[in-house]
């Protein structure tokens, strides 16, 4: 395993199901998580729709991948961010979104919900601080 740890930012700007972007992003995040990098996942614009609660795709014949987001914490992804303005423009609040729990299996540190709603300044900082940005 490489000693070099980079800061990866996964930028999600597409709604789920209408296009394949959201699903592809999740696959890449899960694959990337295996490489022990410092990972942040940001949901911006229509990307915030990926995290809505209660998705039920039985009627459209597609796989419901929203439960997979809840496992991100198990892949040592600890930083999941949602843009506040994007939620507001869509009439959504954090209550509309799924929760993602995180636990450090070594220290037993637990976080009930790592999904954090952040403002524009924090989004800028996050982008600035990242070494690599994967856009979907």
């Amino acid at each position: 395993m490489s000693e070099i740890v980079k800061k990866f930012l996964y930028l999600n700007r597409k709604a789920p199901y209408g296009t394949i972007y959201a699903w592809e992003a999740l696959e890449v995040i899960l694959i990337g998580a295996a490489f022990d990098q410092e990972v942040s996942v940001l949901f911006l614009d229509d990307g915030v729709y990926q995290l809505t609660k209660g998705q039920d795709t039985g009627g459209i014949g597609m796989k419901n991948f929203s439960p997979t987001f809840r496992t991100l914490g198990d892949y040592e992804v600890k930083n999941v961010y949602v843009d506040r303005d994007s939620l507001a423009a869509r009439g959504l609040t954090q209550d509309d979104l799924v929760q993602i729990a995180w636990e450090d299996f070594d220290t037993e540190e637990e976080v009930e919900n790592i999904v954090e709603v952040i403002d524009t300044a924090r989004v800028r900082e996050l982008m600035d601080a990242s070494d690599v940005v994967f856009s979907f």
Partner: protein, 102 residues
């Protein structure tokens, strides 16, 4: 006989809904499908535009697409009707033609 317009793009990402509502004749039917269903929800930046359009056209939303995206009918703008796939077929049959705003 009028036109059934379908919109399958998010109103926050594309101009499909804008153009559809601009050119749809009064009395036309507009069916929101796929990512177009987000336009049917309350509290969004598109809500005023959709409410205004409801004075001129009938607006429907495809239930399975709404449910897939995690939204209950209680989140819909008043005046928008939910249809299932059979309802989609009925709308297509009732109108002279279908115009898709991709």
């Amino acid at each position: 006989m009028s036109i059934l317009h379908t919109v399958n793009k998010s109103p926050f990402e594309r101009t499909s809904l804008d153009s559809c509502l601009k050119f749809a004749q009064p009395g036309a039917a507009v069916l929101l499908i796929e990512d177009g269903v987000y336009a049917a929800l309350t509290g969004t930046s598109a809500e005023d535009q959709v409410k205004d359009a409801l004075n001129r056209v009938k607006i429907y939303v495809l239930g399975p697409d709404l449910k897939a995206r995690g939204f209950a009918e209680g989140r819909l703008i008043n005046g928008i009707s939910v249809v299932d796939y059979a309802g989609f077929v009925d709308l297509a049959a009732e109108n002279a033609k279908v115009q898709a705003w991709l």
